[in-house]
């Protein structure tokens, strides 16, 4: 498992697994789209728009997963002095931001036919929007420090402080939302999902994961090279 913390080992392994992952992601994505667009049934209430879920839900899961992995790597980098954590943080933050953005956009595309409006101040939407802003802050921090050592450590500290604060924010937004009770909340309450819908959802999630993994491998490799040649 050394390739998870060592740039050189990572480069070796990445050369091996990049192509399989790329192929796997293409296959899974095609399969997932096939399932999502043709083979899964319409929702009896929402009709065809339910298919947005197959983009929306995986990206939401992955946006959170990315943040969780980033905080793990921040701990590793700060506490155990593993510089690979900084490389990972710099490389992966934009990917997490893009997942969050996809989640927000697909969510509002889904919301327009369902609720008749692009945006509702629903608890989940609001907390995802806040997560997106936090990702943006991480990216901007990466752009605005001159000194690399300070930058990467400060970003890691910020990610950790954020990981403590995000649950508090989520909790407060939930509380705020139940306080103000928007009329549309029932639409988003957890439905029990049918197996015919669960299969494409899982395939799409895996496909998204593989795509994210492929892009992050590319980005991490670029980051390692640029660090070696002292570009950034």
């Amino acid at each position: 498992m050394k390739f998870l913390v060592n740039p050189n080992k990572f480069n070796e392994i990445a050369d091996y697994i990049f192509k399989p992952i790329l192929i796997l992601s293409i296959v899974l994505f095609a399969l997932g789209l096939l399932f999502a667009l043709y083979l899964s049934p319409n929702d009896y209430q929402q009709g065809s728009t339910v298919r947005i879920m197959y983009v929306h839900v995986p990206s939401a899961w992955l946006s959170l997963l990315t943040y969780a992995v980033m905080s793990l790597y921040s701990i590793a980098a700060l506490a155990f002095r593993i510089p690979f954590g900084y490389i990972f943080n710099t490389a992966v933050a934009p990917i997490g931001a893009v997942f969050t953005l996809i989640c927000i956009i697909s969510g509002s595309l889904w919301g327009k036919p369902m609720w008749g409006t692009w945006w509702v101040w629903d608890a989940r939407l609001t907390s995802v929007a806040i997560l997106f802003i936090i990702y943006l802050i991480i990216i901007f921090m990466n752009l605005s420090f001159e000194n690399r050592v300070v930058r990467e450590k400060v970003v890691a500290i910020f990610i950790l402080v954020g990981s403590v604060n995000l649950p508090i924010i989520k909790f407060s937004v939930d509380w705020w939302n139940t306080l103000h009770q928007p009329a549309t909340i029932s639409k988003l309450s957890k439905p029990s999902i049918d197996p015919t819908m669960l299969t494409p959802l899982i395939i799409m999630t895996l496909a998204f994961m593989m795509i994210g993994l492929a892009i992050s491998i590319l980005r991490i490799k670029t980051e390692i090279i640029s660090r070696k040649s002292n570009i950034s």
Binding site: N147, R148, V149, N230
Partner: protein, 201 residues
């Protein structure tokens, strides 16, 4: 008192200096010489344990500096290339703050004579921000007197000063050495005083 063994510092994977050795006993002066950007300030900061060296170790009174840090800080005055006097306050206020903050046991007459020799005694009620750069720098040296500590670590103390003040500083250095104090300072010019250790970066 201070012993430095094989000190090397790396910043952003770039070596700044390597294998610095130094031993400083009471009553001695050490000077760091080097061009701009050769790492003089970095070495001074490493001596103060602000920057962690990549290789090597520093000892204070026979113990590792890290294990003996606050005792070391109790015996050292550091003057950086920045001036720490508060620009919005008068010289008098600054001296008062320093005197209390550093728990100084210096009495007022000593400070007055120091002010007189530094030719600052006429500006006591002036705000520091209105003084010239050289005067602010001279005011900074008053901290050496107020803190009254054994080891002085000074970053470029002789630059931007007029000849009279440089002479005065040299005199002060010698007096301090006579009182069993020790000094480490960096300079890019030749100071013209007797130094027991010279480090070229």
């Amino acid at each position: 008192m201070i012993i430095v063994k094989d000190l090397s510092v790396e910043r952003q994977d770039k070596k700044i200096f390597e294998n610095i050795n130094l031993s400083l006993v009471p009553g001695n002066i050490a000077i760091l010489k080097g061009k701009n950007g050769s790492g003089k300030t970095t070495l001074l900061k490493a001596l103060l344990n602000i920057i962690e060296p990549s290789v090597g170790s520093i000892y204070w009174k026979g113990k590792l500096l890290k294990k003996n840090l606050y005792d070391f800080y109790n015996h050292v005055t550091f003057i950086a290339d920045t001036t720490s006097s508060l620009k919005k306050l008068t010289i008098k206020d600054n001296i008062n703050i320093w005197k209390r903050f550093f728990m100084s046991n210096i009495n007022n007459t000593q400070i007055e004579t120091a002010l007189k020799t530094l030719k600052l005694d006429n500006y006591l009620d002036k705000k520091v921000g209105t003084l010239s750069f050289g005067e602010i720098k001279k005011l900074e040296f008053l901290r050496l007197i107020i803190e009254n500590k054994k080891v002085w670590i000074l970053d470029e103390p002789l630059s931007n000063l007029d000849d009279d003040t440089i002479e005065l500083m040299k005199q002060t250095f010698e007096d301090h050495c006579a009182k069993e104090g020790s000094i480490i300072f960096s300079s890019h010019q030749n100071p013209g005083i007797y130094v027991s250790e010279e480090i070229h970066l």
